[in-house]
Symmetry: D2
Subunit: 440 residues, 4 copies
């Protein structure tokens, strides 16, 4: 079988060559899987995952242009034949790249049939093959998700569709997805509600839709428990696109929703920075916020351009950003069972097969640099101690009472009457920025 799937024939397993020059873009210069930092291997801090849809199903079509990416694995007599060829190619790629995880939608891996039953049969056949390839290669599923947005039936939403028949279809599809997650040992299961929102407020009953979405999630939780599926559930926020407004706007919106419907113990968040910036936040914002609320489950490591108003799903290349993400990840003790999933696609103009490698290598190196920087920041402790000192007043006296919740307004007033005006303390933002730059 090896021969027929050797689609990246010219490309050997990617080595780590730390001193490679600028033009040598088919080796790692920073990412060294086995190297230990802060007591953990690089690959365990970074837990990279390749996404199946962009990298193996993407065609390069955009709203203004047709297919540009013609992949050899898509040449087959039937949809199922292509699907299998594609899966082989993907595992060849994972292996050569040295990535231990992949992620997929049910409908990426396996073609949708004309009935639910046919779709499920296709999925059974394909996941049999996937399981076999997982065992052979050691590559595992970081997360599975169900595609509840691409088929025309979902045009008005899935769990929030005004027609309960569509919601039922989504439920049936997710039921199968959960079975597949169990079968393949997925470590997480993601819900991205691409069409759970609205295009026009005029035709939408928001209250009804939110309740339906909550009830949908409750059924999902019940079924997960029933089948003994152990993976972590994750919701992936996005503010808009394709919808005008998506209910899972950003980390805090999802946290508010989950808490309102008492679902918060069953879900964490999968944060995609390109979605975060579309919601008007800075790159690292939702990773930080989710982490602070104990809800950071996984990260879709990609990037957009701050001057563009749509999701471009570019490979993350900015060391400043990767440093900020890895600092947060280290501070919360790692992402496991989550990881860093490359929900990123090569540009539609990047038509060479090698571009798929170059893009992943460039991004993995960008994260490896980010990790190394974050480790140095944490190990040297300069920033940490500057911050600790800044909040020191909460460790004693009236500050401690505020901290532990035992103070009252009357006590605060008494404190001010005794101590008068607070002294001025510089925030020293430029000093922090300058020190931070030292580590980049």
């Amino acid at each position: 079988m090896a021969t027929e799937t050797e689609l990246f024939a010219g490309i050997p397993k990617i080595p780590y060559v730390p001193d490679a020059g600028a033009r040598d873009v088919l080796c790692f210069k920073h990412y060294s899987a086995e190297e230990v930092l802060l007591g953990r291997k690089m690959e365990d801090w970074l837990r990279f995952s390749v996404c199946y849809w962009h990298s193996f199903c993407g065609t390069g079509a955009d709203p203004f242009g047709f297919q540009t990416l013609h992949r050899p694995w898509n040449e087959g007599a039937t949809p199922m034949e292509c699907a299998k060829k594609r899966l082989h190619a993907a595992f060849e790629f994972f292996t050569k790249l040295g990535v231990k995880y992949y992620t997929f939608h049910d409908r990426d891996m396996s073609p949708e049939g004309s009935t639910l039953e046919e779709s499920n049969r296709n999925l059974d056949e394909m996941t049999d093959l996937a399981l076999q390839l997982q065992i052979r290669t050691g590559v595992k599923v970081l997360w599975v998700t169900c595609n509840l947005f691409a088929h025309s039936r979902y045009m008005n939403g899935a769990a929030t569709n005004p027609d309960c028949h569509v919601l039922a279809f989504a439920g049936a599809q997710v039921k199968k997805g959960l079975d597949v997650a169990k079968k393949l040992g997925a470590e997480n299961f993601v819900f991205w509600g691409g069409r759970e929102g609205f295009y026009s407020i005029h035709n939408t009953d928001v209250a009804a839709e939110l309740k339906h979405m909550a009830n949908f999630f409750k059924m999902v939780v019940k079924y997960k428990e029933k089948i003994g599926l152990k993976c972590q559930f994750l919701i992936e926020p996005k503010p808009k696109e394709p919808c005008k407004h998506q209910y899972d706007y950003d980390a805090m919106s999802v946290i508010g929703f989950l808490k309102h419907y008492e679902l918060d113990s069953h879900f964490k968040l999968n944060i995609e920075p390109n979605h975060t910036t579309l919601a008007g936040h800075s790159y690292e914002h939702d990773v930080v916020m989710a982490s602070v609320f104990g809800m950071l489950g996984s990260v879709d490591s990609n990037t957009g351009s701050p001057d563009l108003g749509w999701d471009t799903d570019q490979f993350p290349m900015d060391i400043r950003n990767t440093t900020m993400i890895m600092k947060t990840v280290i501070e919360q003790g790692g992402l496991q069972p989550g990881g860093l999933n490359f929900d990123a696609k090569v540009r539609r103009e990047s038509t060479d097969l090698e571009d798929l490698f170059i893009a992943h290598i460039g991004a993995m190196d960008a994260f490896a640099r980010g990790l190394r920087n974050a480790v140095r920041i944490i190990e040297e402790g300069v920033v940490t101690s500057m911050v600790k000192e800044r909040y020191m007043s909460f460790s004693h006296g009236i500050g401690q009472k505020v901290e532990d919740g035992s103070a009252s307004l009357e006590e605060l007033e008494d404190f001010v009457k005794q101590n008068g005006e607070p002294k001025v303390t510089s925030g020293k933002q430029e000093k922090y920025e300058t020190v931070f730059n030292h580590y980049l």
Copy 2:
């Protein structure tokens, strides 16, 4: 006393003259306070409020220019003399305009002293006068708020300041603010956390700051209960400005925060559409979302320009927007004890004293038109029945089970196996838009 405060001498009480021509901008053409719509007077649906800070304290200074607005009520020998003259002028204005409510910050009404004690004494003296003027004119306080952002001590935050001494000062100030609210019979009390957020993530301990903010609110709730203050607490979301990131980003962020810290039964939201649009939402979005979650307490009726990235606090003039707001307000049964507060300022180039009247009249008429439109939409029921029909599948069968939370994934799958693919149903957005236009 009447003579000395007659600062709007040339302007009589604003009449309602429905057929006034285009140039006549000193009368109402649409707002008729006593007219009854859907069983309630216009003034009870609209509950307009004038904001003290923009309309009576504003100077027209902006980050690139000095004062342009030179108000006669600011000419006085001492700050307290000015403050009193200003308050008289304001009540003259409220009365001539025919608005029954006003809103203010503690520091608008009364100059800050060099100590907390002096500030409190000033506030006592000023609120004695305010109470007197309220009784004389029948004008009431829609809400009070404490200014916890303008003084330099708050530059790094109030309840989220890294220095607990500053937090204590904020607590002392709010304690007095609550006393004032009780004294003046304020129907609501607003918290706008203008500096509760960060300018740089590098120097900020987000987890600590959020906890301090929650503990601060808990003290405030306790003191409110202690003094028997009956008003509604409101939090006003804003995404950014002056901060780079404000914790109360938008309605859902605040709801998430309140639920996480179990504060949600004590607070509702005061939504400002200019803040909503800065958070990347449509004009009416947060009003709708807050209402859906049962958290809409009041509205700061203003507008921004969608092409500008900062808060311009313009008077709301777009009938489409006012119609959407009033439709939501009617559907939730009104805003009481909240209202429509004109958190809006005349442009700094609008230097004539009459511009203050023209702006309020134009905005009140815009809301009166919005109310009339919304009433017609609701009374005729065309849109309502279109929406109802759209969600009809949830009123019976499997839909009803989803609605009441008794369905399971297995049942949904069975339903699909029996009923196959859902039928295609047009969302008919353009029809909704066309019908909506009919009412504008």
Copy 3:
């Protein structure tokens, strides 16, 4: 042949029924083609045009979902058979709607072949039929354009492609497009440089690309003159999407480019408001700016949502916006030979065939209301005289010298030395807004 093309069988010619109720969305309530306003028929002020690509070629696919719109005119045995059926359907639609113009790309009307020669033969055959249908119905071509962005060959640009072979292909295609424009009597010819820009500054030689684009336009001008084509050339600005940056960013960018390369006498602009708002301007901005510079040729009458960062090409429904556009159009004496082209698509969820009518009717009525409003504003002259009065100082004395360019800094200084500080004059923005609202 009439029978076989009767695809909108249930829908008769759209009547004008000014007092139709809210639910009756299949008649005009405001647009009355023959009615005369300011000495010109409504249809001559409005010069509506249906766009072929969205309304007849659109499938409803978006970056996250598959086709939703299954049109009967796309069911045929061969691409050419479909193309002809589609064209018949389109003319049936134009006629029933009562619109006199249409616009199209070469590749919408006629399928691309495997060679340039085959594509050209297809286009010849299809335009023969188009000409026949134009003569039979009286419907005319507002403008033609060449699709230089959808085929994968154009992925890196057409006139700005780094490979001159692609530029040559674009040139050959435009040559044929100009021949077609002449054959069909197109009144304008549009260039939209969707891929003339860059995705990454790193791989781009901006100076070279701009020069190539200019030289390309010079060849186009020469060929137009050679064949005696009389139509107006138009460039359509767009800031981004699909590119990260498009050279024709907005009206002023194009004007700068045209003047730099001395092409400005040969081109005007086709302004699309959805592109204008994506460039950070207000809805009417580029229409106004192009008009002021004598460069407003035509308008793509659509709209986006200000909270979305991509081109949604919605039907324009906001009366405020249509009023602003029509006021500018009237002030420049009309758009002829340009028009109001509905570069707008029904939402992908608007799957009923009637939605295509409803959307156009709603938008035509929105423009008819805008026209009526603008006519009233201009006829009553209130706003005009307020503005005239505001600039009166330029009609005499030192102002007149500034106006005619004969003043000097020395004279300005002398004037100030004699006259001192200028008096304060209110900008009265709220008054203007209130008066403007009177006409909506």
Copy 4:
């Protein structure tokens, strides 16, 4: 005199200590003024300039808060006494920092009087002192500009004011500004039209205002020639803020304006990246575009936050950005007589006097790193040769004819008929990004 101005007493001249650790933020780690790169000293490539208004006149006030920065040089008995103390402090700062240039507005350096004559006298007295300090220290004026936006008389614009009296005042002020520029040997003169635009389209005659602005510039050019002033004129684009729309929106808008009014030979552009990003472009965009059109005169080296919609004027700290700017600067042969002016302010929370040093040092080091990176990129030539290869087709055959403007559409068509479909060429964006990262 030295003693009385020693306001930064604790801070010695900033040394270059390349191996200083993270906490040592009062020395340069990368900027070494005398070091030669590509045949030029670092200080000649970088030509840093300190801006007077932010760094010496800034108070820390923002639209939501009062003064936070209390500078010792602002403590004086009279405005003129303060002004002198401030100027001494500034020259002490320039000298200790080792920066050779400064920039200022007329009204920063010298207080506005109650008449033009008094203002001019103040300016004469202050510039006498400035000249003395320039001679003593060797620090020079990079550029002067007139503040035509802060005084209330300019609220409706200066050269575009509807009242010609205001325009006359602006003209008189600029006349004096040009005299001052000559006196102090300014190398450039900047025009930033902060209020040249509009707040409301309703009250604005755009055509008239643009013409007045052009005529104003023509007078300015004439006076410059008359007095034999040799400096470069620069226009600084900004899209909005304080205006809703500023006519000098971005580089291309200004180029379009200048060419339309035949002013382009007299002006270049001063590009501020924080303005560029507010116009919806990427950080380096306008620097690149201005350079390509031969119009890049100078750079206001600052930054904003991409998630904020207003001008924050932060110190530039992102090495990626500084590398892109310096690459463009080197490619056009340097910025002289322009430079890199720190139009940046310490955050209002950065209240320590040393923060002013830290901010400048951090930014200068960021630019020094950018310069070193850009030099390596250019010297190694990897990127350059990749780009050159990409456009190679224009160096021969049909490509060369396109390049030199001698090709025709007919020839392009012939070429395609002979050569068929172009081959697919990957844009290789990820490769470029990965290679670029190698140099950061």
